[in-house]
Symmetry: none
Subunit: 206 residues, 4 copies
DNA sequence: TTATAAACGAGACGGTACGTCCTGTCTTTTA
DNA sequence: TAAAAGACAGGACGTACCGTCTCGTTTATAA
């Protein structure tokens, strides 16, 4: 996606010199790297351009602000949605939750989300983009696991899947948010097991 | 608290002109106001000083950085810990959770926490201060409610109170974090009721 | 004149799409207009191209720099050399001097000359071009008037015509240069009359 | 003179940290040097600040534009008005004219005057400043020499001193302006002698 | 009472980064 | 093969804040 001048239909190519795909990639990589190294606040477009070996206006031509660049970079550089589904849905749930929480609280992604939420009122468009392109597919994979478990009779059919996901993802994320420490696997496992048990015996009412 | 030159014991007062308490209050107020208006990223010491009617060095004399100022302001301006305890612990829980989540996700406090977490690795001291002076007392009030409910037999005595609090606080906070929208009371109620039910019938094992 | 790719002989036409003569004219006109409106320093190739309705590289294809473009435009757009010679050489002198000084100190031409002189050391070629194509023919017309006056006995035969022209052109130009104000006709007349008188009675020795 | 905030009366000092006189001098020196080396067009505030060992905003704090800086620098760094008056007014005239023309057509001063005249309509204030602080005193010294010569009977009492000065200064300056070459002493002498002779025998009428 | 010490405002300092504009060049499609 | 369109690397622009400093002034305590 090219935010400023969206990619035209492939048939009728845009006129003039096309944008350099290498430059684009270099900028995104530099952004994610620097985000991990120095954080969002300290990150400067200047430094991104320098590390990418690109002139500063080349960055501005594509992304109108630091926040847009960072969100875009994070979404496009995020690890793909995992879909290794086994016949043990509880293990699958733990695995997917651990991966998503680890990614969300990792340096680049987490910092982008925090920065975005901090200014959310001004950037509804970006928030939606992050929700649609990053969170939604990952949440869908989790929901699929739970739906299967319901289908196979392992979980109570009345369970509210969205609520369950908020609990299982929210608890570890909250710890990270209020302590700054990465989430350890033991506590992630405890959360998943508790919520699973809840959903098995039934009390998570819709 | 005066971070740089800690308040001496009242007996042997420091010589020279004492610090202006009005200036201090004006700075804190300006900080919280601006934090709500423009966000953390856009907030500048320059603007705080201007709004407080104070010279810039007067701010720096007391707080060494924007982040310290903001954390300090947020802690000192936060609404006091509520302690209206009734004989309905489930209602108390809902009430306290709603208040804390609302405060944490409000403009000034939420933005401070997000900014801090985003740079957590560099600011362990500030993170601890926020944990000790803001979160700990509020969490303690919540824990007290749950302990009483255990004592009165309303909740399973094996319940892991910390885990329960992470769930009940984490789920609403997570929604806010991933959508930017303030938490509505309906979903807060759903979360509290689900977790309460879990803890009643027992499966939140220690 | 096409500085970079000189106009080929008309017989063997160059291959491919020929240059657009309208574009050339539009560029020159835009240059002179903008020179008068915003001055040399503020003039940009970008603005010239925009006003001429032409792509920027089309300008660069023909003129390698702003200065070359401006000098070229000024020479080609300058009013033609006047040659209305009467039988009153003193009046002819005044007329020609007034015209030349007015042109030289007018917005486009004057600004070009000033810009060129300011960087004269780097642009000997352009300076020569301006001297040969603009100043020389105008000075020649003036010299012709003086030579005729010498021939008819109105002026001392020993007069140094070059010196006389430097005096009669230099004095008004100097006023303009040091005040920025256009030369008024009264003072131009005073200068011409004084120098004429000098040359009549003789003291401008070769 | 400090252009933006003019030097207050020495009694009532300006408040706040006073400006660094060394920085000011370093900036002026760097400006004049660079003006001579690279010319007005190529001169950048950036380069001035770098050479002066000063931050860029420090330059902008005092001079709002390149042109103001250059004019100010040229005026303040110009060699002082010479006043070596002998009992040979014609020699004095030649000497003063040569000095002034040489200075005016030298790299820094000449380039400043050219740049200013090129944009004169926008900068009436600067033009006046240059006229008052640089040209006027030098012209006054020349006028004084001529007045003495009139007083001693060497020149015709009806001579128009201003016209005479325009001629004697204008002719050499014009040569420089139209050729870019510095004025040689031989032609300066020829001009002075011609004008002197004119003024001696009388025809430069008021 | 009078030093003395430290706060105060004002504002300059060296810096960094901003986001924009223009430079001159290069690449692509269209004519 | 020129023209238009537009991206490229690069450099400077003028501005906003940063965090520090130097002032002259004010206000308390300590001598």
């Amino acid at each position: 996606m090219t935010p400023i001048l969206p990619e035209a239909v492939p048939v009728a190519r845009r006129r003039g010199r096309p944008r350099d795909a290498q430059a684009e990639q270099a900028i995104l990589t530099a952004t994610v790297d620097l985000l991990g190294e120095v954080g969002f606040a300290t990150l400067s477009i200047e430094a991104v351009a320098a590390r990418a070996g690109v002139a500063r206006p080349t960055v501005y031509r594509r992304w109108p602000s630091k926040l847009e660049l960072v969100i875009d970079a994070v979404i496009r550089m995020a690890p793909p949605v995992s879909s290794d589904i086994t016949d043990d849905p509880r293990a699958d749930l733990l695995h997917l939750v651990s991966r998503l929480v680890a990614d969300m609280t990792s340096a680049p992604v987490g910092r982008a989300i925090l920065a975005l939420t901090g200014e959310a009122d001004k950037h509804a468009d970006l928030a939606r983009r992050l929700a649609d392109d990053y969170l939604a597919p990952r949440r869908a994979a989790l929901a699929e696991v739970l739906r299967r478990a319901v289908g196979s009779g392992e979980l109570n059919p009345d369970v509210d899947i969205d609520l369950m996901l908020d609990l299982v993802l929210g608890a570890p994320t909250y710890r990270w948010l209020t302590t700054g420490r990465p989430v350890d696997s033991r506590s992630a496992r405890a959360v998943v097991e508790a919520v699973w048990e809840m959903a098995r015996v039934g009390p998570i009412a819709r």
